[in-house]
């Protein structure tokens, strides 16, 4: 039994097939990259796994349990977290509160406990704040806890998104173009960060990325998507030399 298995999943929007017959198996602890040209359906795959969209056909199993039709927050509870291609932080909340909000599902405070601010509620809050600070520290954001998310520089916002995702205590982390718009030095830094976090929090990672440096340097396995279908799959070495992929996508980008 694999950790995450996506079986023959299809989804179309108004007659356009965004993903068709998509299969993906990820073992526990793997770091897999999903690549492909713009509009190939990569983000749709994330949206299907995290419950934003329901597949028209096919099955998605996480640790043997079906995710089809499960609401997004329950999928998070089961241990899947994600970041967004176009950063979607809670812009008008502080950095700390962004991470605190992500621990909703990991806090037992009942409505009554909250309304009466019982000792239990206060204890939960203390715990949440402490762990939130720990997550911020892991991403090097501890000094900006009181800053509004909207006022962070772009690269720090990307980090905060990862911190927020980690705060949900995931086993599987989906990263949607974490290095988009970064220069080579920043890409390098982001890559090391991902590899470190993966070890530190024992994560399985599925990564969408256009930056080939990062894909080739971090991924153990690569899946190539085009027009909603998988056209190739293999180790970075295999993908680098796969003629179909080179023709369809990589072009002259990899040297």
């Amino acid at each position: 039994m694999s950790f995450l298995s996506v079986e023959e999943v299809s989804r179309s929007f108004g007659g356009v097939r965004a993903v068709s017959g998509f299969r993906l198996d990820i073992g526990e602890g793997e770091l897999v990259a999903l690549i492909g040209p713009n509009g190939a359906g990569k983000t749709t795959v994330f949206n299907l796994i995290t419950g934003v969209y329901r597949p028209d056909a096919g099955a998605i199993l996480f640790r043997g349990k079906s995710l089809v039709g499960v609401p997004p927050h329950r999928i998070v509870d089961q241990g899947i977290a994600r970041t967004f291609q176009n950063i979607r932080l809670f812009r008008d909340l502080t950095v700390l509160d962004n991470v605190r909000a992500a621990q909703f599902g990991r806090t037992p405070t009942t409505v009554w406990g909250a309304l009466l601010r019982t000792p239990g509620c206060r204890r939960d809050e203390r715990r949440v704040v402490d762990s939130s600070r720990a997550f911020l520290a892991a991403l090097g954001l501890e000094g900006e806890a009181g800053t509004l998310a909207r006022n962070l520089p772009y690269g720090r916002q990307r980090r905060l998104e990862i911190a927020r995702a980690l705060a949900t205590r995931p086993a599987l982390l989906l990263l949607d173009e974490p290095a988009a718009g970064m220069n080579p030095a920043e890409v390098e830094e982001m890559m090391e960060l991902i590899l470190r976090l993966r070890k530190e929090f024992s994560l399985t990672v599925l990564l969408i990325e256009h930056q080939m440096r990062m894909v080739m340097g971090a991924a153990e396995r690569i899946v190539v998507l085009e027009f909603g279908e998988t056209i190739a799959e293999g180790t970075p070495e295999e993908i680098r030399t796969n003629p179909t992929v080179v023709a369809a996508y990589l072009g002259g980008e990899v040297t």
């Binding site: 929007f13 108004g14 983000t43 949206n47 934003v52």
Partner: protein, 303 residues
């Protein structure tokens, strides 16, 4: 049977007015995705304009024939109301076009209340209900046992003409095509050289003018008062939602449906006090289970 035919005719008359107002809600929604809560009160103002113009013309020494007075009343009400709507858009809505959408909704709610309360505080209007002078002779034609009053016939014909005219305008003129283009994609259209601000102003003007047709016809049939815009306005709004907000033909369909609800609720429930409950329950059920209305199409969520 005759009784029901008669009631159906009445429903058509009331429904015409609802449909005329619903068009204004739906056009503005189509182009700005904004619910213009003040539209019902703009309709109220149009009735008062008609009232003042008609009273002045009848009372003047010109001794104009009734048909001329009616036409003059109708046109001046349409013109004045269109102006009012354009002014409201300019002063209160346009500065908020890039603000959070709720700011627009709240503002339009405020404008509506402002119009009502201004009408009450303004001496020549005041809170007392009023009647338009009779502009249409009160003759009745009986066909197959169903009585058609001249007023009913005029209401239905004028409304139908206004609706057909609007439908043609939106489908075939440059302005109409620009309107539809904006409602299709408001980000892209300015790049193609469409003057968005002017088209938005036109939309408000046309919506208000059409409502003024309804306001004049309504004022000739029933008494008018500063709060009439609330009830009639809400019924018209429900019509727009029932038909699928943003959809012009849907608004007409919805108007006639709500006219039927108004006329037939007392027939079947033996009390007119349940009308609002029926209409708003209909709205509630529809919004929860089919928010896009009868003729609208659902939109997908983007991530």
């Amino acid at each position: 049977m005759r009784f029901y035919l008669q009631q159906a005719l009445n429903a058509l008359q009331v429904g015409s007015v609802y449909a005329l107002i619903a068009l204004g809600y739906t056009m503005v929604y189509g182009i700005l995705t904004m619910i213009n809560f003040a539209h019902g009160d703009v309709f109220m103002v149009s009735s008062y304009v008609a009232f003042f113009v008609a009273t002045a013309l009848i009372g003047s020494h010109l001794a104009l024939p009734p048909a001329v007075v009616f036409a003059a009343t109708l046109l001046s009400s349409m013109f004045a109301t269109a102006l009012l709507a354009v002014a409201i858009e300019r002063v209160a809505y346009r500065p908020l076009r890039r603000a959070p959408r709720m700011s627009l909704v709240i503002t339009s709610l405020g404008i509506g209340l402002l119009l009502e309360n201004l009408a009450i505080a303004f001496r020549p209007v005041g809170p007392a209900p009023r009647m338009l002078p009779a502009l249409i002779p009160s003759t009745t034609i009986v066909v197959g046992g169903v009585a058609f009053s001249a007023l009913q016939v005029v209401t239905i014909i004028v409304s139908a003409a206004a609706m057909l005219g609007l439908d043609a305008l939106v489908r075939h003129t440059r302005v109409g095509i620009a309107m539809r283009a904006i409602s299709w994609d408001s980000a892209l259209v300015p790049l193609m050289g469409v003057p968005v601000d002017r088209i938005v102003s036109m939309t408000f003007a046309i919506g208000a003018a059409v409502a003024a047709v309804g306001g004049t016809l309504y004022g000739m049939t029933y008494t008018i008062d500063p709060y009439m815009g609330i009830r009639i306005g809400w019924w018209a709004f429900i019509s727009a939602v029932v038909g699928g907000i943003g959809n012009i033909r849907g608004a007409m369909l919805g108007g006639f449906l709500l006219g039927a609800v108004e006329i037939f609720t007392p027939v079947f429930l033996h009390s007119s006090t349940y009308r609002d409950m029926v209409a708003f329950s209909l709205l509630l059920v529809l919004l929860v289970f089919r928010p896009t209305g009868i003729l609208g199409s659902p939109a997908a969520q983007k991530v």
